[in-house]
């Protein structure tokens, strides 16, 4: 039932095997098996509290920030177990970037926001930083809008611009995988279109996993869709197949709007 991505062209970037996850004694993920194909967009859909965001956070171990969590099963990134004791979590997070739902920019200038990650890696020369900032902002289509006000406070940008800035900030670290948690949840329709176009372009270079509870959005932007319900992965497959011909009854009920 939950046998990973069906695309034979795309090799797996991430392979999740029998993942269980607990907050304290409450189990929130049950036996998740999922293949996430490289350089494709995988959408995680499902009603609120179905575990999709929690699952996303386990992919770069951001769940460890919360005390008292437990995890079993394996997650392989390019064949390597990311929970192996010898894995450097800092290195992992540089390869697997995440943009949170409320991923507000830092209260710094536009430039310093994007340069934050590269500076952590020891890049100090102004020219090198400027180049990275420009490239990252161009990737998210923000460069032309902000190139004359890089020194401005990032919180003076519009909501949609702030969200694209957050994505640029994640790209500046040069990750392989980009995890997006409800990237358009707080945006107006025009800014949402902008973000969706951007996600479509990002998969040329990055493996993208996007959590959304907007089914139209999942249908518009993703190649693959995984439907979560009550901590279980109910169904996964190519997006057009999931939306046109779901195999599971719960998937059908969810995408036709019979429950939310």
């Amino acid at each position: 039932m939950v046998s990973g991505g069906q695309d034979r062209d795309a090799p797996s970037k991430i392979v999740v095997d029998e993942l269980d996850f607990w907050y304290g004694t409450r189990q929130v993920l049950h036996g998740i098996n999922l293949r996430i194909p490289a350089r494709r967009i995988t959408a995680l859909i499902g009603p609120s509290n179905c575990g999709k965001s929690t699952f996303l956070h386990t992919l770069n171990r951001m769940h460890e920030i919360v005390a008292d969590t437990r995890l079993s099963g394996t997650i392989l990134l390019d064949g390597q177990d990311i929970h192996h004791p010898a894995v450097d979590v800092v290195a992992l997070r540089r390869r697997v970037g995440v943009v949170f739902q409320h991923s507000n920019p830092f209260p710094k200038s536009v430039f310093d926001n994007v340069a934050y990650g590269p500076r952590l890696q020891g890049i100090r020369q102004r020219e090198a930083l400027s180049e990275i900032v420009q490239r990252s902002l161009q990737q998210v289509g923000l460069w032309d809008e902000v190139k004359d006000r890089l020194a401005r406070h990032a919180w003076d940008l519009s909501g949609g611009q702030q969200q694209r800035l957050s994505i640029a900030r994640a790209l500046a670290v040069d990750p392989d995988v980009l995890l997006l948690d409800e990237p358009a949840a707080a945006l107006d329709p025009r800014a949402t279109v902008h973000i969706e176009d951007l996600i479509g372009q990002l998969c040329e270079r990055y493996t993208v996993v996007v959590v959304t509870h907007n089914m139209q959005q999942a249908a518009r932007v993703s190649h693959f869709t995984a439907f979560f319900y009550e901590g279980r992965l109910i169904e996964t497959g190519p997006t057009n197949r999931i939306f046109s011909n779901p195999r599971e009854q719960q998937t059908d009920e969810y995408i036709t709007g019979r429950f939310h």
């Binding site: 920030i65 800092v90 290195a91 997070r93 949170f100 952590l120």
Partner: protein, 320 residues
């Protein structure tokens, strides 16, 4: 009013309380004040006056103190008083060495206590797992905050003056005052750290920052001004204390500026204490006493005020 049989609407009710004429004319059968209710209302009114009276009384005392001190002390304050060395065992001349001594003591103590306090606050708030250790540490800190200053003085005498053999000196005084400031600084710093929202920490960690990088680049820059402002309140408290420096640093009469951290210094609170109690004819040098008190009070209130203004400024500037 016109139709007495109609039930009373809330709108009429509020209108009636404004107009006495309406109140008499309108029917209030179900709402009529019973005797116990009337007693309760009188008690309420009485209590309010009592509380108000207490507040006014308190304000009057503060006002009286300030008026007395500034009224008698301000006429003494001249440029000479502030910048001259004392003469005749402090009975005449200025109070420059005492001002300088207090400034050195306070600045030294602040420089010692701030890094230590901020470091402890960072550990408690950012690194230590919540649990028994942190709870006990917090309890110890609030206990420290409540210790009488003379106990700090005795502790400083035992540890710094005698055991570590720093002698009665500026250094011992700074260290003792630093101990006294620590609780305020730690509590204020923790408050500052807690005011930095979680998304900044998470966002930084998500970009591959180590915990320390996160604190260094994305927590401290926003918390530090707030911390310094809070620490100034602790400094102000320590600046006015006599007891901690009584055995550790304060000199009765050294009519020159401090020369070394290993010698005793004059200080404003101790100078005031000495002028008031150690002279046979203390009444004849009242003006010297009040002048010293004004300078001390201004220093302490000034530090507090700067602290409060800075803190409010930073609270407003951060937009979360």
């Amino acid at each position: 009013m016109s139709e007495p049989t109609e039930p009373v609407a809330p709108k009429d009710f509020s209108a009636r309380s404004r107009s006495r004429a309406d109140a008499v004319a309108a029917p209030i059968a179900g709402l009529r004040r019973s005797r116990p209710a009337a007693v309760a209302a009188r008690r309420e009114a009485g209590l309010r006056w009592l509380l108000r009276g207490a507040t006014y009384g308190m304000l009057a005392v503060i006002g009286w103190i300030l008026l007395d001190i500034f009224g008698k002390g301000l006429p003494v304050i001249t440029w000479q008083f502030l910048t001259d060395l004392p003469r005749a065992s402090g009975a005449a001349g200025g109070i420059l060495p005492a001002i300088a001594g207090t400034c050195c003591l306070v600045a030294g103590a602040f420089a010692l206590a701030l890094p230590l306090g901020v470091a402890s606050a960072i550990y408690l708030n950012e690194y230590a797992a919540p649990g028994r250790f942190v709870a006990w540490t917090r309890l110890a800190i609030s206990t420290l905050a409540g210790l009488p200053p003379i106990v700090f003085g005795l502790f400083g005498l035992g540890l710094f003056v005698l055991f570590l053999q720093f002698g009665a000196s500026l250094l011992s005084g700074c260290l003792t005052l630093a101990c006294m400031m620590l609780p305020t600084i730690i509590v204020g710093s923790e408050e500052a750290l807690r005011s930095v929202p979680a998304f900044l920490r998470h966002g930084s960690l998500a970009l591959g920052a180590t915990p320390w990088q996160t604190i260094r680049y994305n927590v401290l820059p926003y918390a530090l001004p707030h911390m310094v402002a809070g620490a100034l309140l602790g400094v102000a408290r320590a600046a006015g204390e006599t007891a901690p420096i009584l055995f550790t640093a304060a000199a009765f009469y050294i009519p020159r500026l401090p020369q070394s951290i290993l010698e005793q210094v004059m200080s404003l609170p101790y100078h005031l204490f000495a002028l008031t109690t150690q002279y046979p004819e203390a009444a004849r040098i009242r003006s010297m006493q009040y002048g010293t008190a004004v300078v001390l009070l201004t220093l302490v209130l000034g530090l507090s005020l700067v602290g409060i203004v800075l803190r409010n400024h930073f609270r407003k500037k951060l937009r979360w």
